[in-house]
């Protein structure tokens, strides 16, 4: 072919760091604490819901309504209507998508035009940047930064904050959207109401749409509270709230997500949706609907999965925090999400010259070394930063702790061996 084959919208977004790391994990004998998925089953009621969806009415094998299987949009409207303090219409204010990933794509394509600016808070779930670029938008980054810590104490994700003046300076007349992620991946930060009020106030002042990725909304620890920015005064009409069945019910392979928002915004997402995937698979949606119906009955009670899951994950988190410290890794205690990041500065100073490409950030070289030599897989945090900032944040790696006890024990074994090797 003599013409350029691929469309220009793919420029600069063809490389995906996950492909490389997932490949590495599959090739080596590693304890995989990298990619964010549970290695324990979804709760029984969710598994049963899926089994029911696939062995019941055979018409569930056929197309459902394009914008969402009616029982699912109905329960999402009722469940989240209560949480967001809004009267949510299942047809106008809810769109079901192929995972939260699909929701993000749909939102960017619907609203971001060539030259529009999108404010992205770093560290960010890595797809926000290429999705902005694919829509012709210009990402504008602002970093969460750790405040100075007391020596000897472990850092906490709550310590990482935005500088309000710096944040305000990022808004221009070209700012179309701000993408918020709370609880945050990879840091685990849970934005406080006050922090969200700051963001909200700027969004209103500059008439910006807030796209809020709240997939980890139930994974909140230590008594912290998840706050949905759409709940704040003046925000419902300019916010798209994204959720994930995968993270909610520990079933990432179902790929069911949703967007909640005002019709004035959702109608544009519906246009993108009907011209991209059109329908989402029916049976997964039926299973999620049934699972939410169950949770609605148990909401707030000890039997609720949304109560049990964070409790169990907090134990995993604490186990991992304890274990990682034994080899000189310094975890940042996350307030929420599936992940924690650990400071590897000590390793960076002790073994600065790990194999890798010339300008490859240290954390990537460290992860590859760790996979090869210690049988542990994590994800370098620099992939969650914009290119200019990667060198500033190349001394952190991300671990996923939402794993079965046996996985954490396997991790302990490898860490013990590592610790033994550290002794002179």
């Amino acid at each position: 072919m003599t013409k350029q084959l691929q469309a220009r919208r793919l420029d600069g977004i063809d490389h995906n760091p996950w492909v490389e790391f997932v490949k590495l994990a599959s090739e080596a004998d590693v304890v995989n604490l990298g990619q964010g998925f549970p290695d324990f089953p979804p709760p029984d009621f969710a598994v049963e819901a899926f089994q029911h969806a696939v062995s019941g009415d055979f018409m569930l094998n056929q197309y459902t309504k394009a914008f969402g299987y009616p029982p699912l949009t109905k329960i999402l409207a009722s469940f989240f209507g209560k949480l967001l303090g809004q009267d949510i219409d299942p047809l106008k204010n809810v769109l079901v998508t192929v995972g939260a990933y699909g929701a993000l794509f749909t939102a960017f394509q619907a609203l971001v035009d060539e030259g529009d600016e999108v404010i992205i808070i770093e560290p960010f779930f890595d797809c926000y940047e290429p999705m902005t670029l694919m829509a012709g938008g210009r990402p504008v980054f602002v970093s969460l930064k750790p405040r100075r810590n007391q020596d000897g104490e472990l850092d906490s994700s709550s310590n990482w904050q935005l500088d309000p003046t710096e944040l305000a300076s990022k808004f221009t007349s070209r700012t179309k959207a701000l993408i918020l992620n709370t609880p945050n991946n990879p840091l685990g930060k849970v934005f406080s109401r006050a922090e969200l009020e700051l963001v909200a106030s700027l969004c209103q002042q500059h008439d910006v749409v807030c796209i809020t990725d709240e997939v980890y909304q139930w994974l909140v620890y230590d008594g912290w509270q998840h706050v949905s920015i759409a709940n704040l005064p003046g925000m419902w009409e300019r916010t798209l709230t994204i959720g994930s069945a995968g993270k909610t019910f520990s079933a990432t392979g179902w790929k069911v997500g949703w967007v909640l928002g005002p019709d004035s915004l959702l109608k544009h997402l519906r246009t993108v949706h009907q011209n991209s995937v059109f329908h989402c698979p029916t049976q997964g949606q039926a299973a999620v609907a049934q699972s939410f119906e169950r949770e609605q009955l148990h909401f707030g009670q000890p039997s609720s999965y949304f109560v049990q899951l964070p409790r169990a994950m907090q134990r995993c988190r604490d186990h991992m925090i304890q274990s990682l410290q034994s080899v000189g890794l310094r975890p940042v205690i996350p307030q929420g999400s599936y992940f924690l990041i650990t400071d590897i500065s000590e390793f960076k100073s002790k073994m600065p010259n790990l194999p890798g490409a010339a300008d490859e950030p240290y954390d990537r070289r460290f992860v590859k070394w760790m996979i090869k030599n210690k049988g542990l897989m994590a994800i370098p945090v620099s992939i969650f930063y914009s290119v200019p900032h990667q060198k500033l944040f190349d001394h952190y790696i991300r671990f996923c702790f939402t794993k079965d006890e046996s996985t954490l024990q396997a991790m302990d074994k490898r860490l013990q061996k590592w610790k033994d090797e550290l002794r002179p």
Partner: protein, 459 residues
Amino acid sequence: MALSMFLARGRLCTLSSRPKFLKTICASKILGLSTSAKMSLKFKNAKRIEGLDSNVWIEFTKLAADPSVVNLGQGLPDISPPVYVKEELSKIAAIDSLNQYTRGFGHPSLVKALSCLYEKFYQNQINPNKEILVTVGAYGSLFNAIQGLIDEGDEVIVIVPFYDCYEPMVRMAGAIPIFIPLRSKPLDGKKWSSSDWTLDPQELASKFNSKTKAIILNTPHNPLGKVYTKEELQVIADLCIKYDTLCISDEVYEWLVYTGNKHFKIATFPGMWERTITIGSAGKTFSVTGWKLGWSIGPKHLIKHLQTVQQNTVYTCATPLQEALAQALWIDIKRMDDPECYFNSLPKELEVKRNRMVHLLESVGLKPIVPDGGYFIIADVSLLDTDLSDMKNSNEPYDYKFVKWMTKNKKLSAIPVSAFCNAETKLQFEKFVRFCFIKKDSTLDAAEEIIKAWSRQKF
């Protein structure tokens, strides 16, 4: 007044650990109150979707949703998928590891099965990781192919009538659709067949130029049911090679080909593999449209761009469905020559239904075009000369009004064929209506009842 508002704001602001900064921001918010008037401007849609908001299916499925209506509209089987397909999915629902993410470009066992199946047709090895992509239905493959390979300002040839998403998808990519209609040969007293509808080779050649990035081919064709012959495909292939054009070949109905016809894959023609994306569908292959799994097969230098789109759109498709599909494919791959193989049994089953539909439509004075493939049949409704004067919205094409009238008055729904046409060609096809016949016998019986009563009313 302003001061008291500021102080009120100040009280709220002290909730934070940085009261000084927040007060500053809140004060500026008061000044910025007037910007709320500009809200509606900012919330405008991105240009790429301008004019793409209407959709024929949304409108017509709503109409046919009335349970008293016999729905021969949307291409949705009301027959059960094969038992073993349902069983596989049931078994898989119990396997825990399949509830989590799988490989983004396609679940390993599925791409392996697809590779094995299609190698038989391509007579060449197909690399499961580099030359296959699993997508959210064939719809998703079309989207990935167009987004990945079609740029702003490119021209894309679209054959009319066309599956309705081709035009908006091309436009969403900023490209220009160039339309060419299929034209019917005169009949000479023979039964009207989809093979009577052809492209004029000279007219087709005139549509190609240096800006032509791709042509979208659909065979077997929706809505006509045309199965392009080897010779017809060769004409297209010759032009693609001459103008160095890509071919996006939508072959979702590839198994549904009736006696006397054969499905040909344009990608197997000399010089075509390197420039063709061939799209398939689990939904149409196994009568499981709700699984929304499709695939693109092509050379790695093209598939890699569809993979880039995938990793920036949905990333991965549902795991349990992909595994179930893989298992179902293995069952049929092992018995390709067996009449029990669904790839053989379904077209046999549908041919009977097709023939029944042809007969029914003729009996009431509709002129059907016998499809050589697919599960739709279109009919010319003009001979009925139905009085539609009391239908509102006289700007709509005749077939839109006819379908709405028929749904309301005869409780039978279909899809207007002009929905598969661009604005300029709508008039050419406005006397045609599309019926779907992948329906259980009781549905076709109900349709027969309606049609018989209808024909009795006329005489």
